[in-house]
């Protein structure tokens, strides 16, 4: 498909690009045709989103589920004091619209997971990894390799940053070629523990934006097969060679990982398992397994009806808000197994105590509520 033409308004706005022969009309039209998905709208995502929008990248997708906090503003420059408390995706969308209303911004207020990653990435030309944890970095890598899309990678720690472009389809390596396995939890300090120089993600994110713009316009030498290291204290850049590992489980000649896996587990992050679930408690994972069997329990929701609209476990048998339970207790059969749930497990805990006091013995509280169900069973379930 030929890149779209520029309007007179666009020609005025992008004139400093247009008068450079390396970009020119052709390059600017390719930017307008291009699309980029930013995973994370934080430290790296902020300068990325701003420069990509300013440059006229036609379609920018923003994935984040966090809310703007005052402590973010030390470095996350796409947000502002006026948007503290707002979803980061919405906060960024407003700022980008002000900066350049001619680009389309799509927001996804959700964590990226193995269940949604491929669908989120599929419509975009380039994926940019601006996340802050190992599970999401491996997930982003694997999904981008599977879809054959370049992944512009950047990461930071205190005063130090790394940048490269992973693009196995262009003969380069992927993240797993560089680091086949993640560090076990606790061995590498995170930014939250270690802190970060506020301007550092500005430098690294801007380098990532540069690479994305080069890939979209097709100019220059992409940072494929090279790892750029930046040390802000020494003010030094270095470059190391990266090679594709022919035995890489994802991008190698005979890949063994051909679909997305459980990245929390891969990174050694074990969800807190209730080892000794008491007689009157059941975990979401245990309940999900039980609901698949013929001995499925009676499932009672004790939230309010407006909460059901936000998120509800499929197969729920009855809704009785906890404050009406005493009056409606005759609707329940004490001879069958009953599992009670709510948002967090608190109200359902009360309900279980009430039912026990009324003589029910086969009754269990689903601990952690729909919040934990969303974490451990069904990541598509909305958390509220």
């Amino acid at each position: 498909m030929a890149p779209p033409d520029l309007s007179n308004e666009e020609i005025r706005r992008y004139s400093r690009h247009l008068i450079m022969p390396e970009v020119g009309m052709g390059g600017q039209r390719r930017l307008k045709q291009g699309s980029v998905l930013l995973i994370g709208t934080g430290g790296l995502g902020s300068p990325l989103a701003l420069y990509l929008a300013a440059a006229g990248v036609g379609h920018i997708g923003l994935v984040d589920f966090d809310v703007v906090d005052e402590s973010n503003l030390q470095r996350q420059i796409v947000h502002g004091t006026s948007t503290v408390g707002l979803a980061k995706t919405e906060s960024a969308r407003r700022r980008l619209h002000d900066l350049n209303p001619l680009v389309e911004v799509t927001t996804y207020e959700t964590p990226i997971t193995s269940a949604n990653a491929l669908d989120l990435m599929r419509p975009y030309d380039i994926i940019i990894d601006g996340t802050d944890n190992f599970p999401t970095r491996y997930l982003t890598n694997d999904a981008a390799v599977m879809l054959g899309k370049p992944n512009v990678y950047g990461s930071i720690f205190r005063f130090e940053g790394q940048v490269t472009v992973f693009s196995p389809k262009d003969g380069g390596p992927c993240y797993r070629c560089l680091y086949p396995e993640p560090p076990p939890p606790g061995l590498v300090p995170s930014c939250a523990e270690g802190g970060v120089l506020g301007v550092l993600p500005g430098v690294i994110g801007t380098l990532q934006a540069t690479e994305a713009i080069k890939l979209l316009t097709g100019i220059g030498e992409p940072l494929i097969g090279r790892l750029l290291l930046y040390d802000a204290l020494e003010m030094r850049f270095r470059e190391l060679k990266l090679r594709r590992n022919v035995n890489c489980p994802v991008c190698g000649d005979h890949p063994t990982v051909t679909e997305l896996i459980d990245y929390e587990q891969f990174c050694g992050i074990v969800p807190e398992v209730q080892t000794l679930s008491s007689q009157y408690e059941i975990t979401p994972v245990e309940l999900a397994a039980l609901l698949e069997t013929p001995e499925r329990p009676f499932l009672l929701d004790v939230r309010n009806s407006y909460e059901v609209e936000i998120a509800s476990i499929e197969g729920t048998d009855l809704l009785i808000p906890v404050d009406q339970l005493a009056e409606q207790i005759n609707k329940l059969d004490s001879s069958v197994e009953i599992v009670v749930y709510c948002r967090s497990g608190a109200r359902s805990g009360q309900a279980v105590e009430m039912l026990k006091a009324a003589g029910f013995r086969k009754v269990k509280n689903m601990v952690g509520g729909v919040l934990r169900w969303s974490d451990e069973v069904d990541p598509t379930m909305a958390k509220y």
């Binding site: 994370g40 934080g42 430290g43 790296l44 995502g45 966090d66 973010n72 996350q76 990894d129 601006g130 996340t131 802050d132 944890n133 190992f134 970095r137 950047g154 990461s155 930071i156 720690f157 205190r158 005063f159 130090e160 790394q162 560089l178 680091y179 086949p180 396995e181 993640p182 560090p183 061995l187 590498v188 300090p189 995170s190 930014c191 270690g194 970060v196 993600p201 790892l227 290291l229 040390d231 204290l233 020494e234 270095r238 470059e239 190391l240 060679k241 990266l242 090679r243």
Partner: protein, 91 residues
């Protein structure tokens, strides 16, 4: 033969807060073992039961030792060896 080892920010606290350490060694393996002899707590961050950890890469100059001769890679006087661990920060 003096070799310069660059220590990444994340590991400097286990290496006397040094950004670089100079040591004498003729292979990468000997160099790394000399380093953890000097800074024992660094050991478990680089090695796991005697093997280099898979999230820690070692470079001689700009080349990954996995594509040289691993820990047997010979070193020449004045060379720089870099330890590059995976870092994940972005927010």
């Amino acid at each position: 033969m003096a070799i310069t080892i660059t220590i990444p920010t994340a590991l400097r606290q286990y290496a006397g807060n040094n950004a670089t350490v100079a040591l004498e060694a003729d292979t990468v393996g000997a160099l790394l073992h000399g380093l953890i002899e000097q800074y024992p707590t660094l050991g478990k961050h680089i090695f796991d039961s005697g093997k280099l950890r898979s999230f820690v890469n070692v470079y001689v100059g700009d080349e990954d030792i996995r594509y040289l001769q691993g820990e047997a890679t010979p070193l020449k006087d004045g060379e720089t060896v870099s330890i590059i661990p995976a870092i994940a920060g972005g927010r």
